[in-house]
């Protein structure tokens, strides 16, 4: 079961990551502010209690207390590091900012043959469902698509893409894929001029071993060109590109395998109806 002993991952929904919140705990910090205050407070109590006792147990208590105070003050926990836990920032994978990376690539295995999967990425209606967690897609003319993304404060940004048949060689990762393994089903698109996030994307399909279906890789390159701006827009949208790409693939797999995408639409709680994050 999952168990970061903190709710850092939950915080993503409510408190967007900002560079300032990250730097609070220092460059190697992995203990969040409340966690640090708590640590220091508990540590202080244990330290004082331990010192008062003047016994072996008391000394042990004081040592633990001292370690907690240090953890609270320095904002770094060796235990957390070993566990891969980070309560300081909102990145629940690791403390490195991920929005600066130029290429985001994720893969998923779908239990269907490739020829049943390609249309999900070409048909604007299906594509809109796949990316429905962040964008609407419509089509205008052959293989041309319009993407609309709604920002957190009601702003809209949009861009156009075009499917292109020949991928330039520059998109190939260093030699780990030869032309021989390229499938006819693979799709490649590019943004058309003046896109706020100039990028290009590739979906590759290759047979999985045995009867496991098809391995589908989604790769998005958005830097260069336009890297700084693209990164700024991503920050503004409060999205981590790798989560966006990963979630899109999961939604695609669910739709292809089950005919629906798991959802918390209209989900009841004392907060009201719906839990769309």
């Amino acid at each position: 079961m999952t168990a970061q002993p903190n709710d850092a991952s939950l915080a993503t929904a409510d408190e967007p990551a900002t560079p300032s919140s990250r730097s609070e705990s220092g460059p190697t910090g992995n203990v969040g502010r409340w966690d640090r205050l708590g640590s220091a407070a508990l540590g202080g109590i244990l330290l004082v209690r331990g010192l008062r006792k003047r016994s072996l147990g008391g000394a042990a208590t004081a040592l633990v207390g001292g370690a907690l105070v240090s953890r609270g003050v320095r904002g770094h926990s060796h235990l957390y590091r070993r566990l891969g836990v980070n309560t300081a920032g909102n990145e629940y994978r690791d403390p490195e900012p991920r929005t600066d990376s130029a290429t985001v690539e994720r893969s998923i295995t779908v239990g269907k043959p490739a020829d049943e999967l390609v249309s999900y990425w070409r048909d604007p209606e299906q594509l809109s469902r796949l990316v429905g967690h962040f964008a609407d897609v419509t089509t205008w003319g052959k293989d041309r698509y319009n993407w609309r993304v709604y920002g957190p404060l009601g702003q809209t940004i949009e861009w156009d893409t075009q499917l292109v048949s020949d991928r330039p060689d520059t998109e190939q990762p260093d030699g780990d894929r030869s032309d021989a393994t390229r499938s006819d089903d693979d799709l490649h698109w590019e943004t058309i001029e003046d896109a706020p996030i100039p990028h290009d994307g590739t979906v590759e399909f290759r047979p999985a071993p045995g009867d496991r279906g098809t391995e589908v890789t989604l790769r998005v390159q958005y830097d260069p060109p336009g890297g700084a701006l693209g990164t700024a827009v991503m920050r503004w949208l409060d999205v981590a590109p790798d989560v966006l790409v990963g979630t899109t693939l999961r939604r695609f797999k669910s739709l292809a395998e089950t005919g629906e995408i798991p959802t918390l639409e209209a989900n009841p709680s004392a907060r009201g109806a719906g839990d769309l994050v």
């Binding site: 168990a3 709710d7 708590g38 891969g84 999961r250 209209a266 839990d275």
Partner: protein, 391 residues
């Protein structure tokens, strides 16, 4: 339209609130009118603040049954008015894991997979009322609950069974049965089970049903030990009454140790001694890492080459004696429950009178009284094994 539901507000703060009624959203959904729902020991992990990603106002509860009230347009084989029991983990029935009968590993039912993936490296199936990392679905301690992929998750309850006889097939019974199934029990086997709560008792009864020569239940609450003896026919060990559970097990098995050990306790295993106060303090500050007393005992007690079946729920346990597991050549088997694989068999056992888990339901309460029910359950007051709620 609103309904009443038990909601989590904060650590140790549960309240019955008005919440919106669930709706049909996806084409294979049904909305179920809940007729009976029960507290599970794993709920205590987020009630006590051990599991993150709860949000204020979440409807909790994942072990339930009911009557189908609304049916999505693509549902087959389930109709309005059907009386069904539903496993706590949601399966899609289509992905490779569901097809391999590993339903709690379903790829397609956790809308919040992105919250789990960085920690687990993948995602589990979604579950009702059990943190946002585990799907965020509204739970069953409510008048109504939405059940996705209804054709895969609704199991018809034979008319002759009471709600109490079918309810626990939703989770406790299926989990305990799976734990015994993991042990590949052979003639002459001794199976030791840590924990005589709902899951532990079900594991003991299932092990006996599968032909174990001896079943030994371990707990500290006299009324639970009595239930293990009376209902499951187990021998018992009160761990507070012996110097060492491991020695006691060795002594009673000719020095070999049990052939299989089932951990039905999990991360809130009770410890004794000075570590306890520190654990409690850490829990309050969310700095807690798991205690694993039961699991450590099981590893040491188990015979060489034996099976360790882990049903207790763990977080990121940071200290695990892997060297002992390795040197003793133990086989570790574990999972969240694959309910859909077992429920049809369990309902048949109940209908044929071979097993009747209704004795777990020690307290029947109205939904409005469910916070008190959780209190009884958590503190094991008044002999409470499981409170069941009738919305």
């Amino acid at each position: 339209m609103s309904m009443r539901a038990l909601c989590w507000h904060d650590v140790n703060d549960l309240r019955v609130d008005d919440v919106p009624e669930p709706e049909l959203v996806n084409p294979r959904d049904v909305v179920l009118r809940v007729t009976m729902t029960t507290a599970c020991g794993s709920d205590l992990h987020f009630i006590d603040g051990y599991l993150p990603t709860m949000r204020e106002g979440d409807v909790i509860g994942h072990e339930f049954m009911g009557e189908v009230a609304k049916v999505g347009r693509k549902v087959e084989g389930v109709e309005e008015g059907d009386r069904v029991v539903v496993p706590s983990f949601i399966g899609c029935g289509s992905c490779g894991y569901c097809q391999d009968d590993l339903w709690s590993l379903c790829d397609n039912t956790n809308p919040n997979a992105a919250l789990q993936e960085p920690v687990l490296g993948d995602t589990t199936a979604g579950i009702y009322g059990y943190t946002h990392a585990f799907g965020g679905y509204a739970g069953s301690h409510a008048e109504y609950v939405r059940v996705p992929h209804a054709d895969e998750n609704c199991f018809h309850v034979p008319d002759e069974l009471d709600d109490e006889q079918a309810l626990f097939a939703s989770d406790a019974w299926a989990t305990g049965y799976m734990g015994a199934d993991f042990c590949d029990i052979e003639e002459g086997d001794t199976v030791a089970v840590w924990g005589c709560g709902g899951v532990g008792l079900m594991a003991q009864q299932s092990a006996a049903l599968m032909g174990a020569e001896r079943v030994i239940g371990i707990d500290r609450f006299p009324e639970r030990l009595r239930l293990a003896e009376r209902e499951a026919g187990s021998e018992t060990i009160d761990y507070t009454a012996v110097d060492s559970v491991v020695d006691a097990l060795k002594a009673t098995t000719g020095g070999r140790g049990p052939d299989a050990c089932i951990d039905a306790v999990g991360m809130e295993a009770h410890g004794t001694g000075p570590a306890h106060a520190y654990d409690r303090a850490k829990q309050q500050l969310k700095l807690h890492t798991d205690r694993g007393e039961a699991l450590r005992q099981a590893i040491v007690a188990c015979r060489k080459g034996g099976t360790l079946s882990i049903l207790g729920v763990y977080g990121l346990m940071d200290k695990f004696p892997l060297g002992i597991v390795m040197n003793k050549g133990l086989t570790v088997r574990t999972a969240q429950q694959h309910g859909q694989r077992y429920v049809p068999d369990l309902l048949e056992y109940a209908a044929e009178g071979e097993m009747d888990p209704s004795y777990l339901a020690t307290h029947e309460l109205e939904l409005e009284e469910s916070p008190r029910g959780y209190d009884l359950f958590k503190h094991k007051e008044d002999g409470c094994v499981r409170p069941v709620f009738v919305p």
